[in-house]
């Protein structure tokens, strides 16, 4: 009696496990197949990429799509703009967040509470409320249509500051105190001790910011309309999406558009293994602190 029940339970378990795995495999396929489709299209010849039978494998393999995007459409200019904005912006963001995180780590600093509140409030100011006045501010500062405005957008964030502060709090404060006794200045303690000991924190914030800046779209849409200052995302948008609705412009074959998408993805895929490692930690830390 008992045995039969046990067997049935075992069989049910097996069935459940199989169905569960199939469900997850199906989900993974819905993630993978669209990307394979994009790759297959990008590596097909112009004519065949416009026909409806490419799914997973390219037809008439060719890389002409990439050549057209890079040479004729000059995608390298927006690509370069994106590299500049992402590079400078990320470095400054990490540096400033670390500055603030280091300052707010000091246990006895007078006025610390005030500074923390000051930063927490900025996290609660809704971005939708300041989209229009930000435009006005940047216009008054004569920053519209410059790459500077893109570097300045989101240059510091409360989230990164708190994240860095949490990592710095993991470094024993006695170390800083004894270094101070030996005559080291704050900047020195910061650069030679804290920045080195908080490498996982730095990596997390850097990767977050890198991905965010590479994908940044709202700021360039709001503040840039000079096409020589376009970033890759904006250039891609007009190349892939506007080209569908506006007729009369230079008609792009599908392989060209898909090649553009792949160019935008490559830097992210290149850092994905690192992202994977640090993001999980960062997400947990961020989620539990918010």
């Amino acid at each position: 009696m008992n045995r039969i029940r046990y067997d049935r339970q075992g069989a049910l378990n097996k069935l459940f496990d199989t169905l569960n795995l199939l469900f997850l495999l199906f989900l993974m396929l819905t993630m993978i197949i669209p990307f394979l489709n994009v790759i297959a299209l990008a590596f097909s010849s112009g004519v065949s990429s416009m026909q409806p039978d490419i799914i997973l494998f390219p037809k008439q393999f060719s890389a002409e799509g990439f050549a057209i995007v890079w040479n004729s459409l000059d995608i390298w200019k927006p690509f370069l703009n994106s590299v500049i904005v992402t590079g400078i912006g990320t470095v400054l963001h990490v540096l400033l967040s670390s500055f603030a995180g280091y300052v707010l780590m000091h246990p006895f600093l007078p006025g610390k509470k005030l500074m923390v509140t000051f930063i927490l409030i900025t996290m609660m100011i809704p971005q939708e409320a300041i989209m229009i006045p930000l435009y006005v501010v940047n216009k008054d500062l004569h920053l519209l249509n410059t790459l500077t405005v893109l570097v300045l957008s989101g240059l510091v964030s409360g989230f990164s500051i708190l994240l860095m502060r949490n990592f710095f709090l993991g470094v024993p404060y006695e170390m800083a105190e004894s270094a101070k006794m030996d005559g080291a200045g704050e900047l020195r303690i910061f650069s030679t001790m804290y920045m080195r000991l908080a490498t996982p924190g730095l990596a997390t914030v850097t990767l977050f910011e890198f991905v965010g800046r590479w994908n940044m779209f709202t700021a360039p849409v709001l503040f840039i309309n000079d096409s020589t200052k376009y970033t890759l995302q904006v250039a891609l948008k007009s190349m892939i999406i506007d080209a569908n609705s506006t007729s009369g412009t230079y008609l792009l074959t599908t392989n060209v558009k898909m090649a553009g998408i792949i160019i935008a993805i490559i830097p992210l895929i290149a850092i994905y293994p690192f992202v994977q490692k640090f993001f999980m930690k960062g997400i947990m830390l961020g989620a539990s602190k918010e």
Partner: protein, 291 residues
């Protein structure tokens, strides 16, 4: 003064951050409020006109259309974007093979990393009626006529909800998994001793223990939904605009395209008001403060 000198280096380090936030967070907030009461022009004088901008917004049918769109699309994303990752997390948690579990998490997470332009470009193509993969599969398997997903006003909102859910489910799933991992294992042991089946364990241990995580995730998602902008900006087209243009899109078009900056500023304060109301409702419903 002595104290100040002692910590001068620290205050100096903090200075750029304070200046940045003053110029790019605090000042715009007050400036926005001021602009919303002005007949704001980029050049010339800017007279105060009281509540005129707000009245104008309230009487604009397009504003209310955007309001309805925002509500429908956000509630959709909120529901599906919550339930789908929860189911996936529970399902992933039942998988014993560590390698498969890791691979699944990694793959499901990828779309969250990519920009809306990339995701949009991909899906607009996948959903296109003549050569898109989705329509090809539909016509080959169940012989369906091609569906114009992105030109059809019925499908437009579903596409928004579906793609947003697809993009972020891997990310939210990881948050749920983190919550599941932190459940005390002895609870499962006790349940097993009592002869609870796997389903009973999920129902009586995992789900109740996950309640707090669920509340936090739901609240955080609620705060984000009125802000969707990039996605709409990319997926909208003239034939579906009236069904998908959200409040942020309204603000953008009024302010940046039509340069009616005062009206746009007033509209954005309505968005803030709606966000506040929504947050209060969700807090009440989830009794967030008791967590």
């Amino acid at each position: 003064m002595k104290v100040f000198r002692k910590y001068a280096a620290l205050y100096l380090m903090m200075l750029p951050i304070v200046i940045y936030f003053l110029v790019y967070s605090y000042y715009p907030l007050f400036k926005g409020l001021q602009i919303s009461f002005q007949d704001y022009r980029l050049m010339g004088n800017r007279p105060y006109i009281g509540l005129d901008n707000y009245i104008k917004v309230v009487h604009d049918p397009i504003f209310w259309q955007s309001f309805v769109n925002t509500l429908v699309i956000s509630v959709g994303i909120l529901l599906f974007g919550f339930i789908a990752p929860l189911i996936i997390a529970l399902s992933l948690n039942e998988v014993l093979n560590v390698w498969f579990k890791k691979a699944a998490q990694m793959i499901l997470y990828i779309p969250h990393l990519l920009s809306w332009v990339v995701i949009g470009g991909m899906w607009i193509f996948l959903l296109s009626p003549d050569i898109g993969l989705v329509n090809q599969l539909l016509s080959r398997t169940i012989q369906l006529q091609p569906v114009h997903f992105l030109a059809d006003s019925f499908w437009a909102r579903w596409v928004m909800i579906g793609v947003a859910t697809w993009k972020d489910m891997g990310y939210t799933c990881i948050l749920f998994l983190a919550g599941i991992v932190s459940i005390n294992p002895s609870l499962y042991e006790a349940a097993r001793m009592d002869g609870a089946s796997r389903w009973q364990q999920v129902r009586n241990v995992t789900l109740p223990q996950l309640a707090n995580t669920m509340k936090v995730i739901f609240l955080l998602n609620t705060l984000g939904i009125l802000r969707i902008f990039d996605q709409v900006f990319i997926f909208r087209n003239p034939s579906t605009a009236s069904k998908v243009d959200v409040l942020m899109m309204y603000t953008y078009q009024k302010g940046i395209m039509d340069l009616q900056i005062g009206t746009a500023a007033a509209a954005s304060f309505f968005v803030v008001l709606f966000t506040l109301i929504l947050t209060l409702i969700v807090r009440k419903l989830t009794r967030f403060d008791e967590v």
